[in-house]
């Protein structure tokens, strides 16, 4: 299991547009992934889970990956969030 923190930069947080990009990226990852803001756990492979979590701009989230390819998946997800998920 590996994890790393990252700050969400999207001006409107992880709303539908960046969330659907996140889901498309995460579903290609083999490992199990959880994104947590300390209060709630979100499954980024589920767009509904992402959208209903309402993660805001500036929120620090921890990405946790477990399983086959976990290190590569962690990098992929962290970089995607850091680069703004298509919005920046």
């Amino acid at each position: 299991m590996v994890s790393e923190s990252v700050i969400v930069k999207n001006p409107s947080g992880l709303h539908m547009r960046p969330a659907s990009l996140m889901t498309q990226i995460a579903t290609k990852c083999k490992s199990n992934i959880i994104i947590t803001d300390g209060q709630k756990n979100v499954n980024p492979k589920s767009i509904l889970s992402l959208m209903s979590a309402g993660i805001k701009c500036g929120a620090e989230v921890r990405v946790v990956c477990e399983g086959e390819g976990e290190e590569k998946d962690l990098r992929t997800i962290i970089e995607a969030i850091e680069s703004g998920l298509g919005e920046l």
Partner: protein
Amino acid sequence: MSVLDVLDRRVVDLNMKVKVKDEAIRHLSCLLKEAGYIEDVEEFVKDIYERENEGITGIGEHIAIPHGKSESVRNIGIAVGKLDHMIEWESLDNKPVDLIFLFAVSKNQYDSSHLKLLGDLAGRLGRNNTIKKLREMNDFEDLLEAFGEDTQSIVEDMEILSDEIEIRYE
């Protein structure tokens, strides 16, 4: 503001007879115009397509959530359309769509109430049985019932969504 506060029987058609995505969008937009949510159908439809170009609105499970953020919108609204057959729609799971929630949102950039509403809809859709109930609904009351229940159960079901994965971290 929750989905239950916004749903309006005047803009719900559970028997939509359209053949393609464009017809569905226009049909629901006309309902929104007739009920006073938007001023101009053409302008609103143009704004819907602008958003369509930015990214996929088919979220999977044969459901689409297109939205029009538009100067033409007077009040925030959600038009609901259900078809008895599937139509092509760009989706995250590449499946076609038979249930559409079309959001009408004002262009005020400081108004993020539609994001909360989308989040609320997503949370309710993610609950056990909601999608099943939506598939089986016959009238507006069934629609309300499918989305009903208090928010505490939404929070609990959020935990269930992540429970599939047993990860404990320090």
